[in-house]
Amino acid sequence: MGLNNRILVVDDAAFMRMMIRDILTKNNFEVVGEATNGDEAVSKYIELKPDLVTLDITMPGMDGVTVLKKIREHDPSARVVMCSAMGQQAMVVEAIQNGARDFINKPFHPQKVVEILRRALR
C-alpha cells in the first residue's frame, strides 16, 4: 500500500465516520483523524497533513464544497474525495469542478470505496 495512506475522515454523522473508518482500517489505510464539521476539517487538515480527505458534502455550517475550497486554498495539491448521497449531483459536479479527486456515493460499497481511494491516492 505504500506510505501515502493517511486519511482524514470528515462527516457529521458518527454512523458514517464509523463505517468509513471501518472500511479503511480493514483495508490497510490509516485513519489519522476525524472531523465532524467544516471548521474542524480545515484545522485538522492543516494539523495532520493527511494524504487524502474523505469529505461529506452535506454538513451543518460550512458545506462540503466550501470546505473543499478552503482546504485546497491552503494546499492546492490536496487530495479530497467527496462523500455524497443520491440526488446531490449538482454538488458533486461543483466539487469536481473545484478540484475534488473523486467522490464516493452513499450507500457505500467497501470495495468501491477502497478502489476509489487507492486510485485517488495514486
Binding site: A14, Q97, P107
Partner: protein, 657 residues
C-alpha cells in the same frame, strides 16, 4: 445482513441513535417553521437531517426510509430554491413523514427490521404536497446528447469509448473525473457529451472522448480495475474526424439504487472513535454498582481506621479518591433533560390543536442534567402535567379575550438545579385552581380542608380520585389523576407541589434527586434498630424531652419556636420493640413540600453516603421505605420514605377532622 464484507448489524445501535436525533431535528425545526414559514435556517436544518437520514438508511438497505427521506429532501429543495412556499398543509405532511420515520424506527428497534411503508400510506403522505412537488422515486433520465468540437492538435490521437456499468453512481460525475484525469495525463480534445453538458446530465451510460498525447497503457491504468466502468474501447483515430452524435439513454424510466447482497462474512477490527465513545448503559450500571461497593467498603474502613492512627492518612486519601470516582461515575450517567423535553413541543402543538386553544410553549433549562434512570421515568408525568395545563389550565380563546388576557396562552416548562435536587416546573397562565371547589370536594371526600390554607388545599389535587373538573375530556382526565403523577415522582424519590393564583395560572413543581443511586443519609437509632433518613429532606435536628410531646386528637405534636410541629415516633410507627422513650429524645425535622414534620428517634448516629439498594421481590412490603442500604459492617438498613411518614400524619388529621 451484510453489504459486501461489512456486517451492518454492528452499526444498528448507532444508526438507531442517530436516526432518532435526526428525526428529532426535523420535528423541532418543523415547529419553528410553523411559527415562521420563512425560517430559512429551519428549512436548511430539516433538509440536512432528511439528507443524512437518506444516506444512512440507504446504506443500511432500508429503502422505504430512504425513499421517504429522499422525498422530503426534494420537497425542501424546492422550497430552498423558491420554487414553492411552505404551507401549513405541507408542514402537516412533513409531520406525517416524521411519524412514519418514527414508526419505521420503532419497528426497527422492536423487530430488527423497519416495517414496509404501504403504497396507500405513501400516497396518503404525498397527498399533502401538490403533485408537482412530488418527485419520482429516483431521477428520470433525459434525452440530451451534445457534441462539440474543440481544436485538434498534433500527435497520436485515440478514440475512447467508455461504458459505465449499470450500478455506477452518478456516471456523469464519474465521466467528469475521467475527463480530469485524462486531461492531466494527456490532451483531451473532445468529449461526447461535452464536458460542459456533462454537469447537467441526469443519466449517462457512455462517454466518448478524443484524446491525444497519451499512451494507451496510461489510459488503461486510469480505467482498469474501475468498478464503475463496465468496459471501454480504445482505437487510433483520425484527429480530424468528429465524433458522431449519439443517443445514450436506455429504455424505461427509473434507475434503482443498487442492492448488493454479497454475504461474505468476515470479522473486522473493533473501532475506536477519538473524542467520545458510546458505552452500553449496562456497563455504566455495572460501574456504578462497583463504585457503590467501594463506597460501602470505604465507609467500613473509615470506621475501622479510627482505632488505628497509622491508617488514617491512607484511608483519608482513599476517601477522597472514592468521592471523586463517585462524582465522575454519577456525571457519566447524567443526561440533559433535552432528550425528554424535545418531544414535547410537538405534543403540545397537537394537543392544543385538538382542543382548539392557542398555546405558546416555552422551554427553559433543557440543558439541566439528571441521572438517566430518572430521565427514563420522568416523561410520562410531564406529559400528564402538560396536557392538564392545556386542557384545564389555559382558557378557551373567547374566554381569554373576554377577561382581557392575550388570546394565546403560555405554558412554560422550566428545569433548573438547586443543591442536589433538580426542579422541573410546568406553569401556565390559565385560570388557576378553583380553591373553593377544591375545598368543597375535599369536604365531600372527608379530607381535611375546612381550616386548611390555600396552599395546603391546592396540594389536595394530588389525592387519588380527586378531580374537580366535571367534564372529562379526551385528553386528560380519563380517571387517571394527578395522584399517578405524584406516585411516579415519589417512586423516583422526588416530590410534587402546586402553586396557583386565581386567573394568573398554576405552577406544578417537581423536585427530583440528582441521582437515585447514592444519597447522603442520616443514620438514626431506635432501640437496637438503625434507619436512614435522606439528608436532603432534613431541615434541622434537635433534642426534646418526653414531656414536650402533646396530643391533639390522634396527632402528637411538639411546639417548635412557637409553631405546632406534628411528630411521628419511629418506635411506635415501626413497632420497634425495646425500652420506650428515654430521658432525652432526638428530633429530626423533615421538610416535604410545604410541610414539616418531626421524627422522634432515640439517637442520631451521624451522616454518611448511602448506596440505595432495591429489592426485586415483594415491593409492596417495602412501600414504607425508599429502599435499603448496606452499611460498612455488612448489615442492611432501611431508608425511610418521608412521604409515607407524612401520609401517616395526614391520615391522623383526616380522622381528627
Amino acid at each position: 445482513m451484510t453489504v459486501d464484507n461489512i456486517d451492518l448489524n454492528t452499526y444498528l445501535p448507532i444508526f438507531i441513535e442517530e436516526t432518532k436525533e435526526n428525526i428529532q431535528q426535523i420535528s423541532s425545526n418543523l415547529l419553528r417553521l410553523e411559527q415562521d414559514e420563512n425560517d430559512v435556517e429551519a428549512i436548511n436544518e430539516i433538509f440536512r437531517a432528511a439528507h443524512t437520514l437518506k444516506g444512512m438508511s440507504a446504506t443500511m438497505g432500508y429503502s422505504d426510509i430512504s425513499q421517504l427521506a429522499h422525498q422530503a429532501e426534494n420537497l425542501l429543495d424546492e422550497v430552498r430554491n423558491n420554487k414553492t412556499h411552505i404551507t401549513s398543509t405541507m408542514i402537516t405532511g412533513f409531520f406525517h413523514i416524521v411519524d412514519e420515520f418514527e414508526a419505521q424506527l420503532n419497528s426497527l428497534v422492536e423487530t430488527g427490521e423497519p416495517s414496509k411503508i404501504s403504497q396507500e400510506r405513501y400516497q396518503e403522505i404525498l397527498a399533502f404536497f401538490s403533485p408537482s412537488q412530488v418527485v419520482a422515486p429516483l431521477e428520470i433520465m433525459e434525452k440530451i446528447s451534445e457534441t462539440s468540437r474543440e481544436e485538434a492538435t498534433e500527435g497520436e490521437c485515440f478514440l475512447l469509448e467508455i461504458f459505465f456499468s449499470r450500478d455506477c453512481q452518478l456516471p456523469q460525475a464519474r465521466a467528469m473525473i475521467i475527463c480530469n484525469q485524462l486531461a492531466s495525463v494527456g490532451k483531451l480534445l473532445e468529449t461526447s457529451p461535452s464536458q460542459k453538458h456533462l454537469a447537467e446530465r441526469d443519466q449517462l451510460d457512455k462517454l466518448t472522448c478524443r484524446v491525444s498525447d497519451i499512451r494507451p497503457e496510461q489510459v488503461r491504468a486510469l480505467l482498469e480495475g474501475g468498478v464503475e466502468v463496465d468496459y471501454y474501447t480504445i482505437e487510433k483515430y483520425n484527429c480530424d474526424q468528429e465524433i458522431a452524435p449519439q443517443v445514450t439513454e436506455e429504455e424505461g424510466g427509473f434507475r434503482q439504487p443498487q442492492d448488493s447482497t454479497d454475504n461474505s462474512d468476515s470479522h473486522h477490527d473493533p473501532l475506536v472513535l477519538r473524542h467520545t465513545i458510546r458505552v452500553d448503559t449496562e456497563k455504566l450500571d455495572q460501574l456504578l454498582n462497583l463504585v457503590s461497593e467501594l463506597v460501602i467498603n470505604k465507609t467500613s474502613l473509615l470506621q475501622a481506621a479510627t482505632n488505628f492512627p497509622l491508617l488514617a492518612d491512607g484511608v483519608e486519601h482513599l476517601h477522597r479518591l472514592t468521592s471523586e470516582l463517585q462524582v465522575i461515575v454519577m456525571k457519566m450517567r447524567m443526561i440533559p433533560l433535552e432528550t425528554v423535553f424535545n418531544r414535547f413541543p410537538r405534543m403540545v402543538r397537537d394537543t392544543a390543536m385538538a382542543v382548539d386553544k392557542l398555546v405558546n410553549f416555552e422551554i427553559r433549562g433543557a440543558e439541566t442534567e439528571l441521572d438517566r434512570t430518572i430521565i427514563d421515568d420522568i416523561s410520562d408525568p410531564l406529559v400528564h402535567l402538560l396536557r392538564n395545563a392545556i386542557d384545564h389550565g389555559i382558557e378557551a380563546v373567547d374566554r381569554r379575550v373576554s377577561i382581557g388576557k392575550p388570546r394565546t396562552g403560555t405554558i412554560r416548562l422550566e428545569a433548573y438545579q438547586t443543591g442536589n435536587q433538580v426542579v422541573i416546573e410546568v406553569s401556565d397562565d390559565g385560570h388557576g385552581l378553583d380553591i373553593e371547589q377544591i375545598r368543597a370536594k375535599s369536604r365531600e371526600m372527608g379530607l381535611p380542608g375546612v381550616d386548611a390554607d390555600a396552599g395546603e388545599l391546592a396540594n389536595l389535587i394530588f389525592t387519588p380520585g380527586f378531580s374537580t373538573v366535571e367534564s372529562i375530556t379526551d385528553l386528560s382526565g380519563r380517571g387517571v389523576g394527578l395522584d399517578v403523577v405524584k406516585n411516579s415522582i415519589e417512586a423516583l424519590g422526588g416530590s410534587t407541589d402546586v402553586y396557583s393564583r386565581p386567573n394568573e395560572g398554576t405552577t406544578f413543581k417537581i423536585s427530583l434527586p440528582l441521582t437515585l443511586a447514592i444519597i447522603q443519609g442520616l443514620l438514626v437509632k431506635c432501640s437496637e434498630e438503625i434507619y436512614v433518613i435522606p439528608l436532603s429532606y432534613i431541615a434541622e435536628t434537635g433534642i426534646i424531652f418526653p414531656e414536650d410531646i402533646q396530643t391533639i386528637g390522634q396527632q402528637e405534636i411538639v411546639m417548635l419556636r412557637g409553631k405546632v410541629l406534628p411528630i411521628v415516633c419511629l418506635n411506635k410507627l415501626l413497632e420497634i420493640e425495646g425500652p420506650g422513650p428515654t430521658e432525652e429524645l432526638s428530633l429530626v425535622v423533615v421538610r416535604y413540600g410545604e410541610r414539616q414534620i418531626g421524627i422522634i428517634v432515640d439517637d442520631l448516629l451521624g451522616q454518611q453516603d448511602i448506596v440505595i439498594k432495591n429489592v426485586n421481590w415483594g415491593e409492596q412490603f417495602f412501600r414504607s421505605f425508599l429502599g435499603c442500604s448496606i452499611l460498612g459492617d455488612g448489615s442492611v438498613v432501611m431508608i425511610l420514605d418521608i412521604n409515607v411518614l407524612l401520609s401517616v400524619v395526614r391520615a391522623r388529621e383526616v380522622n381528627h377532622a
